[in-house]
């Protein structure tokens, strides 16, 4: 039987399946960031004046900000002038009206990734997921528009929403994550090029899962997507987000902002399977994933859940948060983060309890192998009006090998004496006795590791929609591939 050391050694050999590059003609702005670049992006997008002003204000503020250094991650400083802030597949100039107009090379890319863009598949009963695909800086295809329109649901690229639904965008954009919120959010506000926009009207239950796939293809390009989801009173939507990028020796920057607005009695479930390129076994290349995700439960009894499976990125800096303003509102955070080789992840959540009887649950599962370092960083804040607020936090770490690290930074601020908080944390290793037990029952060592790790993640995987649970399982298996001595 292999020792833990051997297992982690072999974990280093995992291959990144989504690492291919699509050969496609694209229009890319030269590297560099200035007001002119922002004006240029805004012009390409044919944005109204108010949007440009909003971007420029964010940019001017960003210039006064410093990159945060408090996270437990270590990387060379990013030269923001060496990044290109816009890249688009060339044929996209007029925007595809239907999938037939989408570059076949692009469709092939998504096929390779196993993303069902073809509406025919839906008709054939293969899938019940509407997909918005974002390739480098632009959205290339949104499926099932007509079916969603029937239900009154708006699901489109945010660039389109800015033009088509300016009132909704003006009302909500930046209302959860303001442009001055943090360094990366400000940068995103200045240069974001696309992302998804979702509006679910009052009392509507979205008839299908909505999904966005993000793909960084071009070299030296940053991806700054912006997602805005609004669930009006009594609405419900389940939303999935997936991410991949080709293998490149250079680090690529991904600084996204996701805002969820949840009004009274509405519910949003947001799931992410993040598989950005993590870099090679020596830590060369990989995506810097600096993301701000926040949900605002604005109405009473609003509910939100963040579920994330993070296997990719060289560096992850991400804290999907919930602001629980409405009385009886509830926020949940379920996370599985896998770091191998030289990956670093500083991730967790913030639960801000403002309303009465607000509830939050945090289940975080971290798996580290190789020389990876992983931190859980979580804040639970109970405001002075948060009568009888409750939080339950559980942080479990699983270590493979003895060169990796797991760290937990729980922050708690309680200003109301009736609040209740519970925190549980464990750190464990896969036991030789567990491996031997599984092998004695006939599993290969690799199968045993997969089974034990999947069992460790079960509480989180159970929260994923069916389509994603399968994908998440498979991703974990790929991540742990080659673990047999």
């Amino acid at each position: 039987m292999a020792t833990n050391e051997e297992i982690q050694e072999h974990l280093g050999e995992r291959e990144y399946e989504a690492g291919f590059v699509t050969d496609i003609e694209s229009e890319t702005l030269p590297p560099g960031l200035s007001e002119d670049v922002i004006r240029h992006i805004s012009a390409i997008k044919q944005e109204p004046e108010w949007m440009l002003d909003w971007r420029l204000e964010a940019y001017r503020h960003w210039l006064t900000m410093e990159e945060p250094t408090w996270a437990a991650v270590d990387y060379a400083p990013t030269d923001y002038q060496s990044i290109s802030y816009y890249s688009a597949p060339k044929s996209k100039d007029d925007g595809p009206e239907s999938l037939d107009e989408v570059d076949p090379e692009l469709l092939k890319t998504y096929e390779k990734l196993g993303i069902p863009l073809r509406e025919q598949e839906f008709l054939a009963g293969v899938t019940n997921v509407a997909v918005d695909a974002v390739f480098d800086s632009v959205s290339v295809a949104t499926t099932f528009k007509s079916k969603l329109t029937e239900a009154g649901v708006i699901f489109c690229p945010i660039s389109e929403a800015i033009i088509e639904y300016p009132e909704l965008v003006k009302q909500y954009l930046g209302s959860v994550v303001p442009p001055k919120d943090n360094f990366f959010a400000a940068l995103n506000c200045a240069v974001f090029t696309d992302g998804s926009f979702v509006y679910i009207p009052k009392g509507v239950r979205c008839p299908m899962e909505l999904s966005t796939y993000f793909r960084i293809n071009a070299l030296n390009t940053g991806q700054f997507e912006r997602t805005l989801i609004i669930a009006d009173e009594g609405a419900y939507v389940s939303y999935l987000e997936g991410c991949t990028a080709p293998m490149r020796d250079e680090n690529q920057l991904h600084a996204a902002v996701v805002e969820l607005v949840i009004l009274a009695d509405a519910e949003v479930k947001y799931a992410t399977v993040q598989n950005w390129y993590p870099g090679d076994e020596n830590g060369v290349g990989g995506i810097y994933n600096f993301v701000t995700k926040r949900a605002d439960c604005r109405g009473n009894r609003a509910k939100v859940s963040w579920t994330q499976v993070e296997t990719g990125s060289a560096i992850t800096w991400k804290y999907p948060s919930c602001i629980l303003q409405g009385d009886d509102s509830a926020g949940k955070f379920f996370s599985v983060a896998v770091t191998t080789n030289c990956q670093q992840a500083d991730t967790g959540t913030k639960m801000i309890h403002l309303g009465k009887n607000t509830k939050s649950t945090i289940i975080s599962k971290g798996i580290s192998a190789g020389r990876a370092q992983q931190s859980y960083r979580g804040l639970v804040r109970m405001g002075k009006n948060a009568e009888h607020a409750r939080n339950y936090t559980q942080c479990d770490s699983l270590l493979l090998g003895d060169k990796c690290g797991a760290h937990t930074f729980p922050y708690v601020e309680v200003k109301n004496p009736t609040a209740t908080l519970e925190h549980e944390a464990t750190t464990s290793k896969i036991g030789d006795d567990q491996l031997f037990y599984c092998q004695q029952r006939g599993l290969s060592e690799e199968g045993a590791v997969n089974m034990i790790v999947n069992g460790f993640c079960k509480d989180v995987f159970d929260e994923l929609p069916m389509e994603f649970a399968v994908e998440a399982n498979r991703l974990m298996e790929i991540s742990l591939e080659g673990s047999v001595g």
Binding site: Y437, C438, Q439, Q440, G442, L443, E445
Partner: protein
């Protein structure tokens, strides 16, 4: 089925088995008894292929093949089963799911088609009756939150499903109350067959009242000191292990 010749095994540099020889044929039930630290669990772990046991000399031949050259899972596929003295808890892993993976790995090795969920469940439900295991156990995490007796019943249930040729029961009776012992022993008795060899490792004669062995071996100081029939176990019960040593 299993031929052990002059087996020497060390753990952390300390010799535990010191030239053990034993032959086990199909259809036979062997009981291995002995004082604490005699090497009983070492023997079953070495047969099953657990890490950390260094075989310094001797041989283990199973169905004509060198067992020591096989990985633990290969031994399982070839029909070796170990009922653990301390069954391991695996949080979040469904009991049935683990077993199905094991059964199908073995079937693949045997060149058989994998069982689908439906066929598998019908096998499982039938075998669960053998040890009066409630079907709610099937969907629970492996051994998690099981009582001592439930864990041991689960081991024998797994044995029934995996259908081994050579079953090693490592202190399956320890920690069982009389009722649980009767159920577990009843299950084992139903699994006795002309094609299967069973090796029971135990401290107590009590188990042998329920599962009658063909041979009783006394293992002490790393060797088989004495072999006899069931009456040997009764003498041991009466006189203690020192009696064996004195009579050498």
């Amino acid at each position: 089925m299993l031929v052990i010749k002059d087996l020497h095994v060390s753990v952390d540099g300390k010799e535990i088995l010191k030239g053990l020889s034993l032959t086990i044929n199909a259809g036979e039930v062997h009981a291995i008894m002995g004082p604490n630290g005699a090497g009983k669990s070492t023997l079953s772990n070495v047969i099953a292929g657990r890490d950390g046991y260094e075989v310094t000399s001797g041989s283990l031949t199973y169905k004509g093949e060198d067992l020591l050259a096989m990985k633990p899972e290969e031994r399982a596929w070839a029909g070796v089963f170990l009922a653990f003295q301390y069954p391991v808890e695996i949080p979040g892993v469904n009991n049935t799911y683990l077993l199905k993976a094991g059964v199908n790995a073995k079937r693949k090795y045997q060149g058989l088609d994998e069982l689908d969920a439906f066929d598998f469940m019908s096998v499982v439900k039938e075998k669960a009756k053998l040890v009066e295991l409630d079907t709610s156990f099937l969907t629970r995490s492996v051994n998690e939150g099981f009582s001592g007796g439930e864990k041991k019943r689960n081991e024998i249930f797994q044995m029934a499903v995996l259908d081994p040729d050579l079953a090693l029961l490592d202190e399956t009776d320890s920690g069982l109350d009389i009722d649980a012992l009767r159920i577990v022993a009843g299950g084992v008795n139903k699994l006795r067959s002309a094609d299967r060899a069973i090796v029971m490792i135990t401290h107590y004669q009590r188990l042998l009242d329920y599962i009658e062995p063909d041979f009783v071996h006394v293992l002490a100081d790393g060797e088989i000191q004495k072999t006899g029939d069931k009456s040997l176990a009764l003498k041991l019960e009466e006189h203690g292990y020192d009696w064996v040593k004195e009579n050498l």
